[in-house]
């Protein structure tokens, strides 16, 4: 589902333009106080235009109608920004939703027979059967059976996954396909109430609520708007004192230019785009607030396996004891592992083949495989020609060797200690009760992960590794991967306690989990991301669901949250900084006819009062569509520390915000002066 829709997909633009007009409805506009006042200004301008047809005192009707049109465009541009953000989010959500429309389901009846029913009519608690080749009709939990499932429709990942009843991998998603076997699935949501449905509603605006920071910013912007209302209203008696008539067109233009229309027009688009970006990262959020909170996260709890290390341990080295040939040792290792289906076993063969160029022996027919048990803590093979090869934990093989009356070589013992202290796991191999050597297994830390942790550290996020390993191994891996802290031999309640402790210090904690036993911690965490493959309980407890089941997704989510806030902050700064230039365009234009001395303020050398005012309002209008791409994509987050980031953004959007309109208004004035 990783679609790369163009920023302005033609079909979306079309619906957005229609929406832009529909959103002119004052009942909708009032939610955005800044743009609402612009709409009122536009209406007054419409009246003034008509009035000026018969009265010359308010200026020429043509000029007034142009101002009216530019103001109307300003409102429409702002509406369009919101509409296109909504449309993009909706398109993304629709493509997810399409996968689950009108899928027939074989619903199990009480008498044991089944009835085919459309997915739209499935109720919570219904049980349906899926066989090989069936599309799963809706979200649910497997209550019986095991199946391989193709989830590529949701995740874009083509490799099939296994889902089975019980345990932490029991959830199935509507729209995915059963590749083999048969499962019974219990429906977990009412129609129209799945996470995806909720997300779509959030994007569409019906149930979208403003996030805390958005509310605070709206208040601030409303107060700026009020200041400028005061400035413009009082200007009338000031001008009367100075015997300077000011036209209503000029006053309204000044007002619209001064109020923060740029950020006001883009504010809701930025919020929607934030959720949309989350959705594009295949994360379903239950509220916009969760995305915003993600940007504030101080502590990130990450599972070791799959996040920090690649899957399981891998064999990295063969260490034969003194007096044993490498070739013979490797041969024994391979033989003992050929029947070993565990990832460790496979990695031993892989290492032998690649590093030692060993030719893989064929297992002699009649060999007996010894499987691993918790008591023996070893596995191996007995061949018909009398070779008894064992590999296993150090102490179990040592007992085994010593019981047979043989001496356990001291160099192996040293090697074992050495490996353990380096965070590895030693596997000792023996043949006919003689120790041959040690295989070193190591956790493979994901390439690039320590750079990501470094990046998180610069953002001020503390990373914590959660692992079932013993503290020694955990410490080693934690250091190597560059995480700040670790929880070793972790039990589910350890996570919970860690989260509570951090929260007691005032920190915000995010975690990812999938199991039912993760659910309390997911609920406790400020941002809890449940894997889509996880249990229903986990998904209910968290406030986000990751469709890709990718444990590193948390890092992305934090960045999306930060980007959201940064985009709001920088565009506010830009919007306010713009006013400096607009003042220098409009104020001299207002007074220059009656107070010629004030032409000293016309530092841009604008053509005439009319062209100056018109250029300022045109600039004010077109800056909105120019910034739509930035609002939708978000201002890039750079992990360079807060002060450096402030310096950077202050320079680009603060200084840039002061300079850009001087250039823009001057250029527009040059163009306008050709006509006026």
């Amino acid at each position: 589902m990783k679609s790369n829709t163009k920023l302005f997909e033609p079909s979306l633009v079309k619906t957005s333009i229609i929406q832009a007009f529909l959103k002119l409805d004052p009942r909708v506009m009032i939610k955005n106080p800044v743009m609402f006042t612009v709409e009122i200004g536009t209406l007054i301008m419409a009246y003034v235009t008509i009035y000026s047809l018969g009265h010359t005192i308010e200026g020429s009707p043509i000029y007034n109608s142009i101002i009216f049109l530019v103001l109307l465009l300003t409102v429409l541009f702002a509406n369009f920004a919101e509409a296109i953000a909504e449309a993009r989010g909706k398109a993304q959500a629709d493509s997810l939703r399409r996968t689950r429309e009108e899928t027939p389901a074989k619903v199990l009846m009480e008498n044991g027979s089944f009835e085919v029913r459309s997915s739209n009519f499935l109720k919570k608690g219904d049980v349906f059967i899926c066989e090989t080749g069936d599309l799963i009709a809706t979200d649910g939990e497997i209550i019986e059976g095991i199946a391989t499932i193709d989830e590529s429709a949701i995740t874009g990942e083509s490799a099939p996954v296994i889902r089975e009843a019980g345990g932490d991998k029991s959830s199935v998603t509507g729209g995915t396909k059963v590749l083999s076997d048969e499962i019974k699935v219990k429906v977990t949501t009412e129609p129209g109430e799945s996470f995806l449905d909720k997300m779509i509603a959030l994007v569409e605006g019906a149930s979208r609520q403003k996030t805390p920071n958005e509310i605070a910013l709206t208040i601030l912007l409303a107060s700026f708007t009020l200041v400028f209302i005061i400035v413009c209203v009082t200007l009338k008696p000031f001008a009367d004192y100075a015997n300077t008539p000011i036209t209503i067109a000029a006053l309204i233009s000044l007002f619209v230019c001064l109020i923060p229309t740029t950020i006001g027009g883009l504010l809701s688009a930025i919020g929607i785009a934030g959720m949309d970006r989350a959705l594009r990262a295949n994360v379903i959020t239950k509220s916009g607030k969760a995305v915003e909170t993600a940007g504030d996260i101080d502590v990130l709890l990450l599972d070791k396996t799959g996040t920090i290390t690649i899957g399981n341990r891998k064999a990295t080295n063969f260490y034969p004891t003194a007096g044993t040939e490498m070739k013979k040792f490797v041969d024994a290792c391979v033989l003992s592992s050929l029947a070993d289906e565990t990832p460790e076993g496979k990695s031993i063969i892989e290492l032998a083949r690649v590093d030692e160029k060993a030719i893989l022996p064929i297992v002699p027919t009649g060999s007996e495989f010894i499987t691993f048990t918790a008591e023996t803590r070893s596995s191996g093979i007995n061949t018909p020609n009398g070779r008894r090869i064992r590999k296993g934990a150090f102490d179990s093989i040592r007992n085994f060797v010593q019981e047979a009356g043989h001496i356990f070589p001291s160099d192996i013992e040293e090697k074992v200690k050495h490996i353990a202290s380096n965070g590895g796991t030693p596997l000792v191999v023996s043949e006919n009760e003689h120790a041959l050597g040690v295989i070193e297994l190591q956790d493979i830390i994901k390439p690039g992960i320590s750079e990501r942790f470094e990046r998180l550290r610069k953002m001020g996020v503390k990373t914590v590794m959660v692992t079932g390993d013993n503290p020694l191994t955990a410490k080693y891996i934690a250091e190597k991967a560059g995480v700040d802290d670790f929880i070793a031999e972790a039990k589910p309640e350890d996570k919970m306690n860690y989260i509570k402790d951090e929260q007691a210090l005032g920190k915000l904690v995010a975690m990812m989990g999938d199991g039912t036993n993760d659910a309390p911690a997911l609920a406790q965490a400020d941002v809890g991301v449940a894997m889509n493959s996880g249990t229903q309980a986990a998904k209910e407890a968290g406030n986000m669901v990751d469709l890709d089941n990718d444990p590193t997704k948390l890092i992305e989510i934090v960045e999306i949250g930060k980007q959201l806030l940064i985009t709001r902050g920088t565009l506010t700064t830009f919007s306010i900084a713009n006013d400096v230039a607009k003042y220098f365009a409009i104020v001299p234009a207002l007074f220059i006819t009656s107070i010629p001395a004030l032409k000293g303020l016309n530092i841009m050398g604008l053509h005439s009062p009319e062209s100056a005012i018109l250029s300022a309002v045109i600039f004010n209008a077109i800056i909105i569509p120019i910034l739509i791409p930035l609002a939708l994509k978000g201002v890039a987050y750079k992990a360079i520390g807060a002060s450096a980031l402030l310096r950077r953004n202050l320079f680009i959007y603060g200084i840039g915000g002061v300079v850009a309109p001087f250039i823009g208004i001057k250029l527009i004035d040059l163009a306008v002066s050709l006509f006026v």
């Binding site: 805390p212 920071n213 509310i215 605070a216 910013l217 208040i219 601030l220 409303a222 107060s223 200041v227 400028f228 005061i230 400035v231 209203v233 009082t234 200007l235 000031f238 001008a239 004192y241 100075a242 915003e292 940007g295 504030d296 101080d298 550290r457 953002m459 001020g460 996020v461 005032g506 949250g561 930060k562 980007q563 959201l564 806030l565 940064i566 709001r568 902050g569 920088t570 700064t573 306010i576 006013d579 400096v580 003042y583 104020v587 007074f591 001395a597 004030l598 032409k599 000293g600 303020l601 987050y637 520390g641 807060a642 002060s643 980031l645 402030l646 953004n649 202050l650 959007y653 603060g654």
Partner: protein, 572 residues
């Protein structure tokens, strides 16, 4: 010229050299740590006992504001009636009359609010009783009110999380016993030894060489002039304020008065840093304020020392700069220095005529009062600055991708709402006040009031506009200086500025204290690499930008029609 510069540079450095240790001392005093003035404790204990105050009682921010407003309203009522009936009360050797109600209303609010806008003249308008027991008394307690309110705010950030912010009476009493009173004694003695009167006798009389009989007003002036500056009040004993030879006899007293009015506002900033154990933050704020003050002072010096271009056009040499409205014993540099400080700080005393300064000087004076936070008044300066700080924290917090936080406390909708209202208040009062005045002047110039509105202004046109704008701005800033040239002692101006002074005083105290109280209650968030630090140069720059942009955007059109238009017209 050189000695004039040396004079003001020396004054500035002496001020800083006193203010820094004073700030550290204040931090200790209000934290209850051991200081050398602890020998005054018995006096404080006696005051508490006499007034039945339990200083052990801990107050939250609401309780603090409640008692602050309560005691201030008592002073308003008390003073109002004395002003009305001062002619019937003792200590009135010159037989001055009681005040009319509108003037009494204006005067009492003005002095309770630490503004000291004076629509009367000290020589003829008030009795010695009023001078001493109303006006001078209020100069002490209004300054102490501001300092105590600031300490409440400081207290909110001293501990990680706090609901109780100390005892208001303790802060209030200590600001008087440990700070205002001892310093006033020192300054008053210096003034007395230099010739400022401190007697209770009525007018003196002499016959001049021309044979005219001249009455010379005097009275208990030295003590009032000391606290008028130390408490950033600015209300003069005599009508001509600190340009009067009795109030400010020579260059030395001029220096002392300039130093006196600046040390407490500066010290409060330093005190903030030490009190909350983040002295770097204190010095950073101090840096921003100093740069802001210098950016107003340097162009002021430039335009005053440069002289009047109109006179220059006539070929008149002005070696000493623009001397109109200035005292020869101080010169233009010391007058320019004073005029900047008295407007950035809310003192509002003058040692020259602001009405006569160059148009651009008027612009800088107005801007200083509009900002009202470059040092600012006793205690309230840092409260005003705090609002700018919250706005800066909010915008820059978003810019670095985190919910904004100040000193470990999240700044959320409620705090932003309060800060927004306070930010809105100044433009509202200043612009609406000026708009009403200009409207009455233009549309109802000949209405039958005791002073017809069309007769308000000494100067027509842009300068007249500045006169009205200045009067309203000075009221809102609780500055109290006048541009003069405006007939302000009439019902219209007395009532209008009285209301503006009142709102401009108490709302900007309530707002910051409320924000601080709300923030203090929130959970403390420890600092991380993602936290925006507020004591860095970058953030200082951000705050400065917020201050300049907010004020420029609010007042640019008004300033364009006043001093800026006058400036460009003069150049023509």
């Amino acid at each position: 010229m050189n000695t004039e510069f040396i004079g003001i540079i020396a004054t500035f450095f002496i001020t800083v050299a006193i203010a820094i240790p004073l700030g550290k001392y204040l931090a200790k005093v209000f934290a209850g740590e051991k200081v050398w003035t602890d020998f005054l404790k018995p006096i404080e204990t006696l005051i508490y006992k006499l007034s039945g105050i339990n200083v052990k009682e801990q107050m939250d921010w609401k309780k603090h504001l409640k008692v602050l407003l309560l005691i201030n309203s008592i002073w308003i009522i008390y003073g109002f009636f004395i002003l009305l009936y001062q002619d019937k009360l003792p200590f009135n050797p010159d037989g001055n009359p009681g005040m009319p109600a509108d003037l009494a209303f204006n005067t009492i609010i003005s002095f309770v609010a630490n503004c000291n806008l004076q629509h009367y003249s000290g020589e003829t308008g008030v009795s010695y009783l009023t001078q001493q027991f109303v006006l001078m008394f209020l100069q002490f307690v209004s300054a102490a009110t501001g300092i105590a309110a600031a300490i409440v705010l400081f207290k909110a950030f001293r501990e990680k999380t706090a609901t109780n912010l100390g005892n208001f009476w303790e802060f209030f009493v200590r600001s008087i016993t440990r700070l205002l009173l001892p310093l006033s004694v020192v300054v008053a003695l210096i003034l007395t030894f230099n010739g400022t009167p401190a007697s209770y006798e009525g007018k003196d009389q002499f016959i001049s060489l021309q044979g005219d009989t001249i009455n010379v007003s005097r009275g208990p002036a030295a003590q009032m002039i000391a606290i008028k500056h130390l408490g950033t009040n600015g209300g003069g004993y005599f009508g001509a304020n600190s340009s009067h030879p009795f109030e400010n006899p020579n260059y030395l007293t001029n220096m002392v008065e300039m130093i006196a009015q600046t040390i407490i506002p500066m010290a409060m900033v330093i005190c903030f840093g030490y009190f909350i154990r983040r002295k770097k933050l204190g010095y950073t704020i101090f840096g921003v304020m100093t740069i802001g003050m210098l950016l107003l002072m340097i162009p002021t010096l430039h335009s005053e020392l440069g002289g009047n271009p109109q006179l220059a056009k006539m070929g008149i040499a002005q070696h000493t700069g623009a001397m109109e409205g200035k005292e020869v014993r101080f010169g233009p540099a010391a007058t320019a220095y004073w005029s900047t400080l008295t407007t950035v700080i809310s003192t509002g005393s003058v040692n020259g005529m602001h009405d006569s300064t160059m148009p651009l000087t008027g612009l800088w004076q107005l801007l200083g009062m509009m900002v009202n936070g470059f040092y600012g008044g006793c205690g309230v300066g840092i409260l005003n600055y705090f609002i700018y700080l919250i706005i800066a924290v909010f915008i820059s917090g978003l810019m670095v991708g985190r919910t904004p936080e100040f000193l470990g406390h999240k700044v959320e909708a409620r705090e932003v709402k309060i800060a927004s209202i306070i930010t809105l208040l100044s433009p509202f009062l200043i612009l609406a006040g000026t708009a009403i005045s200009t409207y009455v002047f233009t549309a109802h110039g000949d209405v039958a009031w005791s002073t017809e509105p069309k007769a308000w202004l000494n100067n027509p046109s842009f300068h007249g506009f500045s006169e009205m704008l200045y009067e309203v701005t000075s009221s809102n800033a609780n500055n109290g200086s006048g541009f003069e040239g405006l007939s302000d002692n009439n019902a219209f101006w007395n009532v209008l500025t009285g209301i503006i002074i009142f709102l401009g005083r108490f709302l900007p105290i309530i707002g910051p204290v409320a924000i601080a109280g709300l923030l203090a209650k929130k959970k403390f968030i420890p600092e991380s690499a993602g936290t925006l630090k507020t004591d860095t140069k970058t953030f200082a720059l951000m705050t400065f930008a917020v201050i300049m942009v907010l004020n420029a955007l609010s007042y640019f059109p008004a300033l364009a029609l006043g001093p800026i238009a006058e400036y460009f017209t003069m150049l023509k």
